[in-house]
């Protein structure tokens, strides 16, 4: 079996280290692995699955002979290095938002639009974490009844802002406990015991960047340019797993029992909806794993008979970022190996 040279760009961050972990868990055929970081982290090591890996500085020469780049870098770093990697012949799966809406860059969730991955020109974009979690949950329902409108309120964990988000929540809880002043840096305000209804900058219409991603990326992934989306994104003092309260309106009626059956068979989904036993998804139970948990499924009590309400949670560092990127790479590797065995 062919093995591949793989680079992780931004390898020392929350998503980058998770990409490494998922890669090792999945036992993909890796020949050479390069963990690329800024100069600051270069030379440092990381232990994972009883192995020690060393970070090296990303330079313009880092992508020579690389087959796949999993990029967990911020937009500016992504834009600096990704074109170089593509020029060297690598296929890049990019978790930043730099290329997501470009016409010639597929935006892929393997459970939702896997075929789009094969139409790439060197770059495949990994969608926004909250968007991935919502669309994995909705895909089986959309396939049956066609989505028309979404009203989404999110409850997003601090690790969406990376390791520094987790550290900031910890530091603030500790500061409050010892009556020390609160320091804010990853978030605009104190997040411990608080909520911040802003994720990203606001546009002129008063929507935050994260809220517009749900609309714009959702439309592209589902190939529904008219999909109506109303989204409110809120940071909550939870370490890991984003949660979302979703009202989904469909083109045709879909009753809750049918919906539950569809979700039970859905790809990447764990239906957890047993109200008698108080079973519903919660961030604590859905962290450190790859499924999107769906529950609280019920008929919309307001005007729209074609609508359902649901609540979903998913680990946004894994399925919302690292796992989704590695799954995309897996799709391409599988297809190549199938093509070879057919030839």
């Amino acid at each position: 079996m062919k093995s591949y040279n793989i680079a992780i760009l931004g390898a020392s961050g929350a998503v980058g280290t998770q990409m490494l972990e998922v890669l090792l868990e999945k036992k993909l055929p890796v020949h050479e692995l390069r963990l690329l970081t800024s100069e600051r982290s270069a030379g440092k090591t990381i232990r994972m699955q009883d192995k020690t890996f060393t970070f090296e500085e990303a330079t313009k020469d880092s992508f020579h002979n690389i087959d796949f780049v999993l990029s967990a870098a911020e937009n500016d770093v992504a834009k600096r290095f990704i074109p170089l990697a593509v020029k060297e012949g690598a296929v890049v799966i990019d978790n930043s938002s730099a290329y997501r809406l470009d016409d010639d860059v597929p935006l892929v969730i393997p459970e939702v639009n896997p075929k789009a991955a094969f139409r790439h020109h060197g770059i495949i974009a990994n969608p926004n974490c909250a968007t991935i979690i919502a669309l994995v949950a909705l895909q089986p329902l959309h396939a049956y009844a066609t989505l028309k409108r979404l009203v989404v309120s999110t409850y997003q964990a601090v690790s969406g802002a990376g390791i520094k988000g987790i550290q900031e929540l910890n530091d603030q809880v500790e500061a409050i406990r010892s009556q020390q002043p609160i320091v804010t840096s990853a978030f605009p305000y104190q997040i411990a015991y608080n909520l911040i209804p802003q994720i990203g900058n606001f546009n002129e219409e008063g929507y935050a960047a994260e809220e517009m991603k749900m609309q714009n990326e959702g439309r592209k992934i589902l190939n529904l340019p008219e999909l109506a989306v109303n989204c409110t994104c809120v940071r909550v003092p939870v370490y890991r797993s984003h949660s979302e309260s979703i009202l989904a309106e469909f083109e045709k009626e879909i009753d809750p029992n049918t919906a539950k059956k569809l979700l039970e068979k859905g790809s990447g989904i764990q239906l957890m909806d047993d109200l008698e036993n108080k079973r519903y998804p919660m961030p604590l139970d859905t962290s450190d794993q790859d499924l999107v948990y769906v529950g609280r499924l019920r008929k919309d009590l307001s005007l729209h008979k074609n609508a359902l309400s649901l609540w979903c949670c998913g680990d946004q560092i894994r399925k919302g970022a690292a796992t989704n990127a590695v799954q995309i790479m897996e799709l391409l590797i599988q297809a190549e190996s199938e093509n070879k065995s057919e030839a």
Copy 2:
């Protein structure tokens, strides 16, 4: 000026002690004050505004010569004592849900439906906290454009479950810090660093009691029996102040600028909506005061041009419970004093 004999039933709980505080702050004409509790708290004292008050056990004789009862007791205690108080001639303002939907019991938010208070037969009900906060925020918009449909996702503080909710969050944070086992009692699961999408018991359609209150109480307060409500209620690890993400659909179009002007003049509201300076309501900034803060006001980007999105926060122990009850009593006292001066 006439002064009144007032009893607080359930006086030692989070809402009861807050009722006492609001009563003292407002300098209402109190002649005699009885702080009624269970046998367990009787004899204990509480310091407030440099005075010491002693709790006494609620008995069937506690309401003799009482003009107003502010009841912060649970439903079962409310049902046991309130009929006795009414029989003695007292007017009871009840914060439990026991009588809220009874036809002959007005359900009152002074900023929304003050006149209803005067149609009582001895009992006036104080609405559910999340419902009060939503409707105070929406009232100026409803007066202008008439509400038709609400989609609400709540972010509800632990103090909604009383003092034991606050204690449980504190204890769990401390247990996690010292790697001790987590104890749950006020909430069905760990609330520290978690979210629980259940407040109250579920009905057959899969809605929690708190979610149905938003619909049923909202319809009664606004006198809109057809008001369509889709609500999801979630407990969050915040001490105080409930927050709500609301999509409101109206009978006629209402643009965000008009809405902001209406909210600026709205009763009981603080508009906080200056995105350039990252100003929006957050639970930390809205606790320990009586206004409902409203921000993130924007046009619905999805199908409905008659719809607006907004985010609001309010202290659910004060405006969501104690303050609202005392305000209702104030309405009645004021009316009586005006009637007298006219006579």
